[in-house]
């Protein structure tokens, strides 16, 4: 077992033990802190697929995060008021069940990722960064100016969506749902990384001309990765809306996109558990520094600048050395 595998196992265990210990000590607040870590980590695992493995620097993943969030909010709202959301091709009046919400969140994010990806993947480099940022901003302004679902004020979710067999109102039950989804996404991400598809994706990052010469179309490989990446982030968005029982345009803001990139980089881009470490660290920093000063993001900025200038490879890179394949 390599050092990185050991570290990963330790991290997975730590994230599970944290809320268990908090419950035992009668501190339910820390359970919701751990839930936040798991959800942001899930969103990061999604982005890591595109950014870490594929080298696609998407500055617009908040779009998918927000779409997932709005899927949760809108479906729950319609289910509560028993208003039909769709009358054709089939009758659908929303749902307050998480698995339905996740499915809708994933499908809606996939559609958005297909549209954004099909246009922005025709370009590369700086263009790609700017275009993904611009498209996310488009969804942001749409959410603000579309009055049906709260507009600028956002949308409250009266009761957290349910899951068969569990009481999602209990912090620990909800945490376990998020944790299991995170682990599933990590397994998926690991299998993808070591698959033929993953090899093609990573090869396209290193040299797309050679990949094309081998008969693999980099565009289609990247588009598939981008869509899958958006879907995972979308599901994370649905969980995030359920955690806060609130969704607002700020979930789609450029700051959110930036934070998702930041937590991957803090952890280590392209490393399987990079987003997990990053999310744990990010939430912890926010909690500790946010408790000290309202201006905690100033310190986040300084730390981030330090990591970029002096500690490339993130925390995992510092702990177990740089990845073998650059």
């Amino acid at each position: 077992m390599s050092r990185e595998t050991l570290l990963n196992a330790g991290l997975a265990l730590l994230l599970l033990v944290l809320p268990l210990a908090a419950t035992a000590l009668g501190e339910p607040f820390y359970v919701s802190l751990a839930t936040r870590m798991a959800i942001l980590a899930l969103a990061g695992v999604g982005l890591n697929l595109a950014l870490g493995f594929g080298g696609l620097i998407s500055f617009g993943h908040a779009a998918f995060f927000g779409i997932g969030g709005y899927a949760a909010g809108i479906l729950a709202g319609h289910a509560l008021n028993a208003e039909p959301l769709l009358s054709w091709p089939f009758e659908f009046s929303g749902s307050d069940q998480m698995h339905v919400v996740w499915l809708v969140a994933a499908l809606a994010s996939a559609l958005a990722a297909l549209l954004i990806g099909a246009i922005s993947l025709r370009t590369s480099g700086v263009y790609f960064i700017m275009i993904t940022l611009a498209f996310a901003q488009m969804f942001y302004y749409f959410a603000i100016s579309w009055p049906a679902y709260g507009g600028e004020d956002g949308l409250s979710i009266a009761i957290r969506n349910g899951f068969p067999g569990l009481n999602t109102a209990l912090p620990m039950d909800f945490f376990l749902i998020c944790y299991v989804l995170l682990m599933l996404a990590l397994v998926l991400s690991w299998r993808i990384r070591d698959s033929r598809f993953g090899a093609a994706l990573q090869a396209a990052r290193q040299n797309d001309v050679r990949v094309a010469a081998l008969g693999i179309e980099p565009f289609r490989t990247r588009l598939a990765a981008f869509i899958l990446s958006g879907m995972i982030t979308g599901v994370a968005g649905a969980l995030y809306a359920d955690l806060n029982r609130f969704v607002s345009p700020s979930m789609i803001s450029w700051q959110m996109s930036g934070e998702l990139i930041v937590l991957i980089i803090l952890g280590g881009a392209g490393r399987l558990f990079g987003p997990v470490v990053g999310a744990m660290l990010f939430v912890l920093l926010e909690f500790l520094l946010g408790g000290l000063t309202e201006r905690w993001q100033l310190f986040l900025g300084v730390i981030l600048l330090g990591v970029v200038l002096f500690a490339r490879g993130g925390v995992i890179g510092l702990l177990v050395g740089r990845a073998r394949h650059g």
Binding site: Y127, M130, A134, F135, M138, F142, A148, G301, L304, V307
Partner: protein, 306 residues
Amino acid sequence: MQTALLIEQLLNGLQFGVMLFLMAAGLTLIFGVMGLINLAHGSLYMIGAFACAGVAAATGSFWLGLLASLAAAAAAGAIVEMTIIRRLYGRDHLDQVLATFALILIFSEGTAWLFGSFPLYLDIPPLLQGAVELPGGVRYPIYRLAIIGVGIAAAFGLYLLIARTRLGMRIRAGESDREMIGALGVDIRSLYTVVFALGAALAGLAGAMVGALQSVQVGMGEPVLILAFVIIVIGGIGSIKGAFVGAILVGVTDTMGRILLPALLTAMIGPAKAAGIGAAIASMLIYIVMALILAFRPQGLFAARG
């Protein structure tokens, strides 16, 4: 719909466009010469606005404030370039994005610390208050006309600077082959600092001028920054001409869309629905235009580098 309203909105769009050009020109120049994507450009815009509002409040003179905004933004740009940005030229775009994102956090929170979270207000100088009668019976604020004038003058000045001066020659040389002009004895490091400070001053000027139209607050720069990205994507990265065309296109499309779309939809689906849907589509219009242009010309309208 009356012609007067249309002309007024067209001028508003033009004013918005030239203001966006001041932002986009700096960004595209910095990318063209140094190959750097600078997210913190919006912060320089904010610094310009705060410097102008602060100095104008202290001295009572908008003009001193305007000078201060140029000086403060240029100085902030030069300092940041020499301490941080300089280390990023050789790095990949991801590092540049992250480091300049960190700079946004530092600048925004630092400004909020210094000035507080409440917005500041900047008065239009007495010389430029009031409105003029334009042909066609349109009354239009002098201040907005002045912004259009300054923007066009800045565009022309930038053209002269780049096409006709020695500094401009070096900038163009730096765009096409930076190793070669270094080898020819041009101090490339100070050239980079000058270009960065020039871009910063343009952003600061835009911030100061807009500060008198809107409130001056933390976070005012980033929405403008993202629009400037849309503009240079449309115009072609590195092209000043592209930035100018793109900026006017975006400014006019955005402003006219917000007026015309709801009016158009009212005729089709009735006023009740049209207000909401029209506003929602109008807010997406420039991004749709960007997507359409990219679908046909992925490198933008005036791609500077093949």
